[in-house]
Symmetry: C2
Subunit: 155 residues, 2 copies
């Protein structure tokens, strides 16, 4: 894994397997969790009810796993690497390894895992290893994303 120092937009052809990017931190607020509950419709008590959440092994309200995934995609946008080059997000795999609590601060790590030119000209498929860490350096989310990216040149 080689940390990139240049976070300018990358076309498919400008990526290298093993190159990695880091972005963050972003703080998750209580309001973010409430907003996500309302927007998604997932009002599960662990995310919305302090009294109930206090009785669980988590000891209090935690962020929805998919909120953490959403925040990871926002950090990937902020990174700038995909600006103007991403054509579509094909798939996301995410394991929710540890709970995220209100006021936790999350940092994204992306590492180029696999690159495959697409049969359709002008585009390629890029797979990334994804890790989201909290302020203690612990992994809270790990997974893999597949993006469709523009090529800088013809096929």
């Amino acid at each position: 894994m080689i940390w990139s120092m240049q976070e300018t937009p990358r076309s498919f052809d400008e990526l290298r397997v093993g190159e990695a990017y880091r972005c963050g931190p972003r703080r998750i607020s209580r309001a973010d969790i409430q907003d996500f509950a309302r927007l998604s419709g997932d009002l599960t008590a662990l995310h919305t009810d302090d009294a109930y959440a206090a009785t669980t092994p988590f000891g209090g309200i935690v962020a929805h796993g998919v909120l953490n995934l959403a925040v990871a995609t926002g950090l990937a946008y902020e990174l700038g690497v995909f600006e103007g080059t991403v054509l579509a997000v094909r798939s996301t795999e995410a394991r929710y390894d540890r709970p995220v609590f209100p006021d936790d601060e999350l940092t994204l790590e992306l590492e180029v895992a696999e690159l495959e030119p697409n049969p359709r000209p002008g585009r390629g498929r890029a797979d990334f290893h994804v890790r989201l860490r909290n302020q203690h350096g612990k992994i809270v989310l790990s997974g893999r994303w597949t993006l469709l990216l523009r090529r800088s040149t013809g096929p």
Copy 2:
């Protein structure tokens, strides 16, 4: 696949492989897409800029893939099957098969794929096949979720 007619809370022990549930539709509004862009921080032009989105093969603004996944989790909550029985969402795999446009109406289908009692007493791992369809019956998201559920009885 056997469609369930009873959408009451299910413990791990009350699930059967092949049993399936359906919930929806939920309409995705333009405001939902804007709210998700703000909350996630993913301001990619395809989701936020009408003029740009009109120039893409999609022909207009589309919902973020992870917003569709979030809505799927909200529909799973609404279903009622997991109320009081879900302990944690362990992982989500999602393929974004087709674009979702503002005013599309989404319906969730969940099918029990695999059941594995957990070494820790009182809980079990349940895997579900997940499909989200639009108002034309086309699959827009497909994948697999792993949930940790309460058991009704001891280990």
